[in-house]
């Protein structure tokens, strides 16, 4: 019973409810949508977003942001894609792709945590550099004839209609969630994001935790890039452009607060599914894809404004309760002294 209560109170539960209501509403309008194929397609198409959003969630947990994830993803997709296209060893290509993520993550972590540069600005700079490097890479060699086996990997299914990729992504997200909530080091991230100074004072290595968060963010975006290459089968110089904003939106939809220290990676995963399904749902509701951006914007603004207003009311109520308790205690104390 306690566990159920805890689940309902969790912030990501609201997002999950929102997703369920969204699916049901679309199902009411167009019953053809409510089939296993369609719903699993929504989940499967979110795999790239899921990985990036989980990575971005780490950067947001520690109270920072990383806007270079889209370019990291694109660069890793371009480099790994080129290697696979030229028949090098797949494992080697994956390793090189991930290595790009490691390097980018370490550089971002160094700039933000060690040099104490505002994260938005520093990652904006690395974003530009990475995007340029990606143009260099794609400009030299087009990635458009990836081997068939590599592309087919993305359509292989495991449990019913769910692809291997999505199952792996879910498994990874759950593992990360458990690590974050059940282990000592995992909880460092939330602690640093909630109160960096306080965390430092109680002996948590804040700088190292921040660098680790950026490292994880870089690695996950690089991994997302490899999955992107496999799913889409073609990497252009624009691949991954704008994904950073979609990842932030997914995190916010999943109940993660941009001020840091609040939320979970499960929420990020759910937010990613919402982001990925919007264009799919619109088709079933009979709208053209022109509505895609406008509806994403409306949903995003509505959720954050509602969340902010609810938090404000909760804070006011808390203050009233505290004041009331204090006055009654003071009055009680006076009464005792008078007797």
């Amino acid at each position: 019973m306690n566990a159920v209560k805890k689940l309902i109170k969790a912030r990501e539960f609201t997002s999950f409810l929102f997703l369920a209501v969204l699916f049901l509403a679309v199902g009411l309008i167009n019953p053809a949508f409510l089939s296993l194929e369609n719903i699993s397609a929504c989940f499967n198409s979110s795999v790239v977003y899921t990985l990036i959003a989980v990575g971005m969630a780490f950067a947001i947990f520690i109270g920072e942001i990383d806007v270079s994830v889209g370019s990291t993803m694109g660069l890793s997709a371009a480099v790994a894609g080129t290697m696979i296209q030229n028949h090098s060893n797949w494992l080697l290509a994956f390793a090189v792709g991930i290595l790009i993520g490691v390097v980018v993550g370490l550089i971002n972590g160094w700039g933000v945590a060690v040099m104490k540069i505002p994260s938005l600005i520093f990652t904006l700079g690395t974003n530009g550099i990475l995007r340029g490097l990606m143009y260099l890479q794609v400009g030299v060699e087009q990635v458009n004839s990836l081997p068939k086996e590599f592309k087919d990997m993305s359509s292989r299914t495991l449990l019913g209609n769910f692809t291997v990729y999505y199952c792996c992504a879910v498994l990874l997200t759950v593992c990360i969630h458990l690590l974050l909530t059940r282990t000592r080091r995992g909880r460092y991230f939330i602690a640093v994001g909630d109160n960096a100074g306080g965390a430092e004072l109680v002996g948590i290595p804040a700088t190292r935790t921040k660098v680790t968060a950026y490292l994880i963010c870089g690695v996950l975006s690089a991994a997302a890039g490899i999955l992107f290459a496999s799913r889409i089968g073609i990497v252009t110089s624009l691949s991954g452009n704008g994904y950073e904003m979609k990842a932030v939106a997914a995190c916010v939809l999943g109940g993660i607060s941009l001020s840091g220290g609040v939320g979970s990676v499960i929420g990020a995963g759910i937010g990613a599914v919402i982001m990925a399904s919007i264009s799919y749902l619109l088709v079933f509701m009979g709208f053209s894809s022109n509505y895609d951006n406008a509806i994403t914007g409306v949903i995003l603004i509505t959720i954050v404004v509602a969340d902010a207003l609810m938090q404000y009311r909760a804070a006011v109520n808390n203050r009233h309760a505290r004041l009331a308790a204090r006055t009654s205690a003071a009055l009680g104390g006076k009464g005792a002294a008078g007797q």
Binding site: I65, V67, G111, M115, K116, I117, P118, L120, I121, F122, L124, G125, T126, N127, G128, I129, L130, R131, G132, L133, Y135, L136, G139, S237, N241, M245, V248, A249, V252, L258, S259, S288, N290, Y291, D292, N293, A294, I295, T296, G297, V298, L300, I301, V304, V305, D307, A308, L309, Y312
Partner: protein, 353 residues
């Protein structure tokens, strides 16, 4: 090595300028622009021709106009990443109102600018009065307004990707006229906007309030400033700037499209930061942002012309510039580095004497 603040016997205005918070940084930016001119000029003498520079600057006007006013937003501690979407929305509204609703082109432009102000006000309201993080609201705004732009374009009888063209000559003349046969009217307009921004930010009560809200909103509130309204008004200003940009860009290109704003978001933020604006708020200058925007444009123009760099790779030098500048500033404002420089200075003076 001398003390960095000027001697008291220097003239008063000069001293005030030199000791001003952003003056030294602006000098550095001027030096950067000069260095760019020298390097690119030596590499290719074609670079040093004003008409060419103006022509290249016309393509970058979006971020010139907008970034000066986004500086206001960043000084209050917010951020605005929706301007490019508003530029596109303004442009397509002009086109549709003129072509499909038969409005006068100038009325259509006024309507579009009014809409852009409303867009800025909406986001500003959510940020200032609902207390949502500026980044999230303007991120949502960028989706929403570009989406609205697309929807408006479906009202038109013209296909969205073609864009609406064939505007009257009087509207096109807005950007085809050249003062003294050299300076395009857009540049004059930019100077006017910049002067307005400078007066508003550095020479008016309103500007002082903007700075105070950025430094400490609670203190501003206690000293009787309506900090929420001040912070909302900066978003309105940046919306207005985006609207004006939309009108000018539509006139310049002769077509109204919903994606006219392009992807200048990152460049706008780069210009603000390079111009000395603190992203945490409380510091910045309109002149600095303008100088930074000019130096970015020179870089974007000079690299392809003089060193044959493909235009697509231009993100690299701009990214490097941004990273080098912010890392450099972080290093030089680090107390231990300042102390080390002080010791070095003492040592050299001792050795000299």
């Amino acid at each position: 090595m001398k003390d960095r603040s000027l001697k008291p016997n220097a003239s008063k205005t000069l001293r005030r300028l030199w000791n001003g918070s952003s003056f030294r940084w602006n000098l550095f930016l001027l030096a950067l622009i000069t260095a760019e001119c020298v390097v690119f000029g030596v590499a290719n003498s074609k670079f040093l021709s004003l008409p060419r520079i103006f022509a290249s600057a016309n393509g970058d006007l979006t971020f010139w106009y907008v970034s000066v006013f986004v500086t206001f937003v960043m000084i209050t501690g917010g951020i605005d990443i929706q301007s490019c979407s508003i530029v596109g929305l303004t442009s397509i509204i002009i086109g549709v109102a003129w072509q499909d609703f038969g409005m006068n082109i100038w009325v259509a432009s006024l309507l579009a600018v009014a809409v852009s102000v409303a867009c800025g006000a909406l986001s500003g309201f959510f940020v200032a009065y609902c207390g949502v993080q500026a980044m999230v609201v303007t991120l949502g705004g960028s989706f929403l307004y570009s989406g609205l732009g697309l929807l408006v374009s479906t009202l038109s009888s013209t296909e969205a990707y073609k864009g609406i063209s064939g505007f009257p000559d009087s509207f096109k003349a807005l950007t085809k006229t050249k003062v003294f046969d050299l300076i395009p009217l857009q540049m004059i307009l930019f100077l006017l906007l910049l002067t307005a921004a400078y007066l508003l930010l550095h020479r008016s009560k309103y500007g002082r309030k903007v700075f105070l809200v950025g430094v400490n909103p609670a203190a501003a509130e206690y000293s009787g400033i309506n900090s929420r309204w001040i912070s909302m008004s900066t978003y309105i200003l940046s919306g207005l700037a985006a609207g004006i940009t939309g009108v000018v860009m539509t006139s310049q290109l002769g077509t109204a499209k919903s994606d006219l704003g392009g992807n200048f978001t990152m460049t706008i933020i780069t210009a603000c930061v390079l111009g000395g604006t603190l992203s945490t708020g409380g510091k910045g200058s309109a002149i600095g942002t303008a100088l930074a925007a000019i130096s970015i444009t020179l870089l974007r123009f000079g690299m392809p012309l003089c060193f044959g760099v493909n235009k697509q790779y231009l993100d690299i030098p701009i990214g490097v510039l941004l990273v080098v500048v912010v890392v450099g500033r972080a290093v030089f404002s680090n107390p231990s580095v300042i102390a080390w420089a002080g010791r070095l200075r003492k040592k050299t003076t001792k050795a000299g004497s």
